[in-house]
C-alpha cells in the first residue's frame, strides 16, 4: 500500500472509531496505527480500540474543568460495572480482557450482597438498566436473551494502575456464586483455554 493509500486507510478507520467507539472487525483486517487489537476468545473476530497516550484520558477533562460525557444514574451504573468485573475477571493477576462469561443471577447475587440485604425485585430494574447502558457504550457485552454478560472491549485499555484499583474493588465486593451458564452455548468457554489467552495476547497492539 502506498503512503497515501495507507494514510487514507488509517484516516478511514480513525473516523469510524471516533464516531462509533470500539469496532468489531474480522481477524484478517490489517492493523491500523493508534488502534489496539484484541481478539474475541473464539478468535472469530477482533476488536479495535483507540489507544490514548498516558495522561490523555478523561482525567484531562476533569483537570480542564470540562464536563464529562453524561450517563444516566452514574453511580448505579458504575456499581454494576464493578460487579461485572468481579464476576467476569477471574484471573486477577492477568489482563481483564477477555475474561469469562458471567450470568445475571451472579450479578444479582453480588448486588444484593453489596447492599447487605436479600435480593429485591426492584434490583432487577436497576441492574438491567445499567447493563444496557454499559452495553451501549461498549463497557460490557450484555446478551439480554441469554442473561449473560462479558467485559466489553473498552477494558482492553485498562493498564496495571487501573487493574490494581479494580482488585481493591473485587476485594470489597462479595464473591459471586458459581456461574450456571445456559446449555444453549456450551462452546462459550467459562474458563478460557490457555491457547485462547495467548492468542488474544499475541494479537494485541
Amino acid at each position: 500500500m502506498s503512503p497515501v493509500e495507507n494514510a487514507a486507510y488509517t484516516a478511514l478507520w480513525w473516523a469510524k472509531v471516533q464516531s462509533a467507539g470500539p469496532l468489531q472487525v474480522s481477524p484478517d483486517t490489517p492493523p491500523v496505527a493508534g488502534l489496539a487489537r484484541a481478539a474475541e476468545p473464539d478468535g472469530a473476530s477482533l476488536w479495535i480500540v483507540p489507544t490514548l497516550p498516558d495522561g490523555a484520558g478523561h482525567a484531562v477533562l476533569e483537570e480542564l474543568g470540562a464536563p464529562p460525557v453524561a450517563v444516566e444514574q452514574p453511580n448505579e451504573t458504575a456499581r454494576v460495572l464493578a460487579i461485572c468485573v468481579t464476576c467476569c475477571w477471574i484471573e486477577r493477576d492477568g489482563p481483564a480482557w477477555p475474561g469469562v462469561t458471567g450470568t445475571l443471577a451472579q450479578v444479582k447475587a453480588v448486588y444484593a450482597g453489596m447492599r447487605g440485604r436479600p435480593e429485591q425485585s426492584s434490583d432487577l430494574t436497576l441492574i438491567i438498566g445499567s447493563l444496557r447502558r454499559l452495553h451501549a457504550t461498549q463497557w460490557l457485552l450484555w446478551d439480554e436473551k441469554a442473561g449473560e454478560v462479558r467485559l466489553g472491549p473498552r477494558v482492553i485499555t485498562w493498564g496495571p494502575t487501573q487493574l490494581a484499583g479494580l482488585r481493591e474493588i473485587c476485594r470489597i465486593l462479595p464473591d459471586p456464586p458459581t456461574a450456571v451458564l445456559t446449555p444453549r452455548s456450551p462452546e462459550t468457554p467459562a474458563d478460557p483455554l490457555p491457547a485462547d489467552v495467548s492468542a488474544a495476547g499475541g494479537d494485541d497492539g
Binding site: R79, G165, E168
Partner: protein, 396 residues
C-alpha cells in the same frame, strides 16, 4: 547671576527631556489599555520624521507619510506629541510649519515596547550590571553607593509587591500570564546580592540601607515561592505550567474556521464520546452503595435498648409469679397463717410476705392478699404472732 541662569537652563533642559519621555509613558499607558493602535500611530509619525531627514516635516507631510492611518487620527496624535514636546518646531518662531522629532521619545517607545513584551527583566539585569559597575568604580562615593542600594531596594520592593498582589488577588490564569514576566530569576537576586556585597565591603557604615535591600530581596524571593506554589497547585497532575487557560481554547474553537480546526486535530486520535468509569469512581460508587445498604437495615441499637428493660421487668414478674404459685401450690387460696407457719422462722416468713405483697401490688399479676381481723397466737410455732388473712388468685 550668570550661575543661576545657567542652572535654570540646565534644569529646563532636564525638564524637557522628562516631559518627552513621560509623554510617551502616558500614551503608552493609555494605549495599552484602550487602543494599541494609537501606539502604532505614534510610531508611524516618528518613523516618518526619521525618514524626512534634517528638513523636518509639516503636519500635512506627516499625514501624507502616514496614509495608512485615518487623517484625523494622525492630526490629533501629532498635536498631542507636539504638546508634550516630543515634536517641536524646527525653528521656534510663530509661523514655522516644519517640525522635528526628538529622539528620546522614540528610544523610550522602543524601550517600553520591549518592557511590555519581556517584562523588563533584561533591563533590570542591565541596570544591576550598571549598578555593580558604578559602585565598584574607584571614584564612587559613599553617597552614590547609598543611592544605588536604595534604587535597588525600591526596584525589588515593587517587583515583590506586584507579584505578591498577583498571587493574592488574581485568578491563576492571570497569574500564569503575568507571573512569568515578573518572577523566577535567581540571577536577578544574585546580581543584586553582588552589588550589596560590594557596597557593604566598601562602606560598612551603609549596613542599614543594605539591610533594607536584603529584606526587599527576601520579600521578592518569598513572593516568587508563593506564586510558584499557587501555579503548581493549580497545574494539576500534568504539571504543565504552559498549558493554555481554558478560555483561550474556547475562544480558539469559536473563532477558528473549519480548516484551522481540522489542521489542529490532524494526526490526533480520539475515542468516541463515551462515559468514563475509572476504577476510582467505581470504587467510590461501590463504597457509597454499601453505606446506603447498611443504613437501610433495621438499626440494631434501638431494638436492643428496648428489649433490655423489658426483659428485666419480665424476669422480675416471672420470679414473683413463681413464688406465688409455690405458695399456692395449685390451690385457689391459701391462709397466711399457714404460709407463716410453713416458713418456720419469722425472717423467712417476712421475706415471703414481702414477695406476696409485691405480687398483690403488681398490676400484671392476678393475685391478691386480703387481711382479716383475727390473729393467731401460738407460742410453740416459729412465729408466735400471726395476723390472719388469705392469699388467693383473682380473675380479671
Amino acid at each position: 547671576m550668570d550661575a543661576t541662569l545657567l542652572d535654570a537652563e540646565a534644569e529646563a533642559a532636564v525638564l524637557r527631556v522628562y516631559r518627552q519621555i513621560f509623554a510617551v509613558l502616558a500614551r503608552e499607558a493609555g494605549a495599552m489599555i484602550v487602543d494599541p493602535e494609537l501606539l502604532d500611530v505614534d510610531q508611524a509619525i516618528l518613523d516618518a520624521f526619521a525618514e524626512a531627514g534634517s528638513e523636518g516635516l509639516t503636519v500635512e507631510q506627516a499625514t501624507l507619510a502616514c496614509r495608512a492611518f485615518p487623517h484625523d487620527v494622525i492630526v490629533r496624535r501629532f498635536e498631542v506629541l507636539r504638546q508634550y514636546g516630543a515634536i517641536t518646531k524646527l525653528v521656534d518662531r510663530p509661523n514655522e510649519l516644519r517640525h522635528r522629532a526628538a529622539f528620546a521619545p522614540y528610544v523610550m517607545l522602543m524601550f517600553l515596547r520591549r518592557m511590555s513584551v519581556q517584562g523588563g527583566q533584561a533591563e533590570l539585569h542591565q541596570l544591576l550590571t550598571l549598578e555593580a559597575h558604578s559602585v565598584s568604580d574607584s571614584r564612587a562615593t559613599e553617597a552614590e553607593g547609598q543611592a544605588s542600594i536604595q534604587r535597588l531596594t525600591k526596584v525589588f520592593r515593587l517587583l515583590g509587591n506586584e507579584l505578591a498582589i498577583l498571587v493574592s488577588t488574581s485568578t491563576s490564569a492571570q497569574l500564569r500570564e503575568n507571573a512569568q514576566l515578573a518572577w523566577g530569576n535567581e540571577r536577578l537576586i544574585e546580581q543584586a546580592e553582588k552589588v550589596h556585597r560590594i557596597v557593604l565591603e566598601r562602606w560598612p557604615s551603609l549596613h542599614q540601607v543594605c539591610t533594607q535591600l536584603r529584606m526587599a530581596l527576601a520579600a521578592y524571593a518569598d513572593a516568587v515561592q508563593l506564586a510558584a506554589g499557587r501555579l503548581v497547585e493549580r497545574a494539576g497532575t500534568t504539571r504543565a505550567l504552559g498549558l493554555l487557560p481554558i478560555e483561550s481554547w474556547l475562544t480558539f474553537t469559536r473563532g477558528s474556521d473549519v480548516e484551522a480546526l481540522a489542521s489542529v486535530l490532524d494526526g490526533l486520535l480520539f475515542d468516541a464520546a463515551a462515559p468514563d468509569f475509572s476504577p476510582e469512581t467505581m470504587l467510590e460508587a461501590v463504597e457509597t452503595g454499601r453505606r446506603t445498604g447498611t443504613a437501610r437495615m433495621a438499626p440494631p441499637r434501638p431494638s436492643g435498648e428496648a428489649s433490655v428493660p423489658e426483659s428485666a421487668a419480665a424476669t422480675d414478674r416471672e420470679d414473683l409469679r413463681a413464688e406465688a404459685e409455690r405458695v399456692l401450690a395449685g390451690r385457689e387460696s391459701v391462709s397466711i397463717v399457714e404460709v407463716v407457719d410453713d416458713a418456720g422462722d419469722w425472717i423467712t416468713a417476712r421475706r415471703i410476705l414481702a414477695e406476696l405483697t409485691a405480687a398483690h401490688l403488681h398490676d400484671e399479676l392476678d393475685y391478691e392478699l386480703v387481711w382479716s381481723d383475727g390473729m393467731r397466737i401460738d407460742s410453740s410455732s416459729g412465729t408466735p404472732w400471726a395476723t390472719e388473712g388469705t392469699f388467693r388468685r383473682v380473675s380479671r
